[in-house]
């Protein structure tokens, strides 16, 4: 990736992070920690990887994205708004009674949302169904999904993992946002799901381990996934929960809590200062 492209993605990701803070601050609720950890990957998907049309969100041949870790939709909504699927000013209505921006992704009402999700473990199954449908319809679109590390404790994830390998869904690429923290603490202490790379390999997936905040590694992983034939790919992305907002980084407490006014102002200042350095 050339330095201009990298800088543009970093800038867009910082704007997505500003959107995340705006959403959860104005909602006085929501899930900033895991939204910030997946922000770089979602930014890459929508601004460098996926073939989508903001003016035609239901375009038949589009690439699909299912946010299986649906509670981190502030990142997805911010990216969709940056991309032009809906107005950026709507982000501040997130979770409000008269807003279409529901607390978890709502396919029926939000432009650009390919699947409703939020009940953990279910999104990856839907992504499998879309990938299977793509093959049946001889479509060339690809299907992307993002899982949480805590989410991998759900049995349905492994039912879906079996299905995807069994039906050789090489048009499916999942990313697992390994930020290491869930509501009750470290994933390895709450209910240790590791080693996730070995587990997915054992289930028949091609596995790539990367730093989920390094755009060069993200790009290389998604490019590699497209070359894999006969099996689905899992990108195991090591990330920092709360990434980009200093006081939220690596704190389980920021899984599902909104910042107060001072905290919000500090987060915005930090992200703007970061953008200045780019």
């Amino acid at each position: 990736m050339d330095s201009v492209a990298r800088r543009e993605l970093q800038k867009t990701a910082a704007n997505v992070r500003l959107g995340i803070l705006e959403e959860v601050f104005n909602a006085s609720s929501g899930h900033p920690g895991g939204s910030l950890s997946i922000a770089d990957i979602i930014t890459y998907l929508y601004f460098a990887e996926m073939n989508v049309r903001p003016d035609e969100p239901d375009w038949d041949d589009r690439d699909r994205f299912v946010l299986s870790k649906g509670h981190t939709c502030p990142a997805l909504y911010a990216a969709l708004a940056e991309k032009g699927f809906f107005p950026k000013e709507d982000l501040k209505t997130f979770r409000h009674i008269d807003s279409y921006l529901q607390g978890h992704p709502d396919k029926k009402h939000i432009p650009g949302i390919d699947m409703s999700s939020g009940s953990l473990g279910q999104g990856i199954s839907a992504a499998c169904g879309m990938a299977l449908a793509g093959k049946l319809q001889n479509k060339s679109y690809r299907v992307y999904t993002a899982l949480g590390d805590g989410e991998s404790q759900e049995g349905q994830v492994w039912e879906a993992a079996m299905f995807a390998a069994h039906y050789k869904l090489d048009n499916l690429c999942a990313v697992l946002d390994f930020n290491g923290l869930q509501i009750d603490g470290a994933v390895t202490e709450v209910m240790n799901p590791t080693p996730l790379d070995d587990k997915f390999r054992a289930f028949g997936w091609h596995v790539i381990v990367i730093d989920g905040h390094d755009f060069d590694q993200i790009e290389a992983a998604y490019n590699e996934a497209k070359t894999v034939k006969g099996q689905p790919t899992l990108i195991l992305a090591k990330t920092v929960k709360g990434k980009g907002v200093s006081y939220m980084e690596n704190k389980a407490g920021w899984h599902g809590k909104a910042p107060n006014a001072d905290e919000y102002a500090q987060g915005v200042a930090e992200l703007n200062a970061y953008i200045e350095t780019l």
Binding site: S125, C128, G129
Partner: protein, 313 residues
């Protein structure tokens, strides 16, 4: 003696038949021989996908396929479709209003020898609480086939309940009309209405003859569609006959009888007595003695009808 065909047999045949007419795909969870989706698989092997014993994932996969424009049918036993995968049906299928058709077989006590773990007596209650879900419970093979085609033509999620045991063919295939949401008066009557669904429709017709012998005139209504329920037909029947007995192969809690009572307590409050399994689990056994043991009989309908008529005064 009428020909006997299990509704699951008719379901499998209908899938195979309509697979030539409509662009449907079918998922099963290692029960294709039992749910009879095997018939579809034989004729349309490229459109059949076994999901293994993983019902939760199967519902999610079907939701995704529907989101990508396909018309997927999913099949398992009612216990594992409506029961185990309830939340996947609610959140992945129904919340986004996806075009998934759930064909649940082996519903109710007529599962027989497999016993309580497999005798789902709660599926109608579970499914009809979900917003936007159409719930159908065909009474015979003719109605089962019609329900499958209606489900294909309906846009949105549908739950269909089929039985394991062979049941008499009640309706004439050559002269059969079916519409989602419409109940059908099978026999006129003026003293009491028997509203029945599924395998209990046959018992309702037998009960009507028994009641006639005692000078009681019973109207019989077949409600294949439990949601949306036919409010107009049930309300008119309540107004004209003054009392109602419901009959279903399901718990009296939350199912068809509850749905009828919910309507009538708002539109025409008359005595409504329910025939169904009481607040109990099933058990192993042959089908006829099980039906006797749990009160799923024409005689129980007759007894309740007489009580209902007495309550009018």
């Amino acid at each position: 003696m009428a020909e006997k065909i299990a509704t699951r047999e008719a379901y499998g045949s209908a899938l195979a038949e309509f697979g030539h007419k409509y662009n449907i795909i079918v998922f099963d969870a290692d029960l294709a021989e039992a749910t009879k989706t095997i018939k579809f698989k034989k004729e349309h092997p490229d459109k059949f996908f076994d999901c293994g014993i993983a019902e939760s994932n199967m519902l999610g996969v079907a939701a995704g396929a529907a989101a990508a424009g396909m018309i997927p049918f999913v099949s398992s036993f009612a216990m594992f479709a409506a029961g185990r995968a309830f939340e996947q049906i609610r959140n992945s299928v129904a919340y986004p209003q996806l075009n998934v058709k759930i064909g649940a077989t082996h519903a109710g006590i007529t599962v027989g020898e497999d016993g309580a773990t497999h005798q789902c007596l709660e599926d109608l209650a579970l499914m009809r609480t979900i917003p936007g879900m159409v719930v159908m419970n065909p009474a015979d093979a003719v109605e089962a086939r019609a329900a499958v085609e209606a489900a294909i033509l309906h846009k949105g999620p549908v739950y269909m309940r089929f039985g394991r045991a062979a049941v008499p063919v009640l309706f004439d295939a050559n002269n059969f009309k079916f519409e989602i949401g419409r109940g059908v008066v099978l026999a006129e009557g003026s003293d009491v209405t028997i509203a029945a669904t599924g395998v209990m429709v046959e018992q309702a017709l037998i009960a009507r003859d028994l009641l006639a012998n005692e000078g009681i005139s019973a109207r019989v209504i077949n409600c294949c569609t439990i949601k949306p329920i036919d409010r107009e037909l049930l309300t008119a029947a309540a107004q004209e006959t003054g009392c109602v007995v419901t009959a279903e192969e399901h718990s009296v809690i939350g199912g068809f009888g509850s749905a009828v009572a919910e309507v009538l307590c708002e539109t025409c409050p008359v005595p409504v007595l329910r025939v169904g399994t009481e607040d109990v689990f099933g058990r192993s056994g042959k089908v006829p003695p099980l039906m006797e043991l749990y009160g799923l009989t024409a005689q129980n309908i007759v007894d309740k009808a007489k009580r209902a008529v007495a309550m009018k005064k």
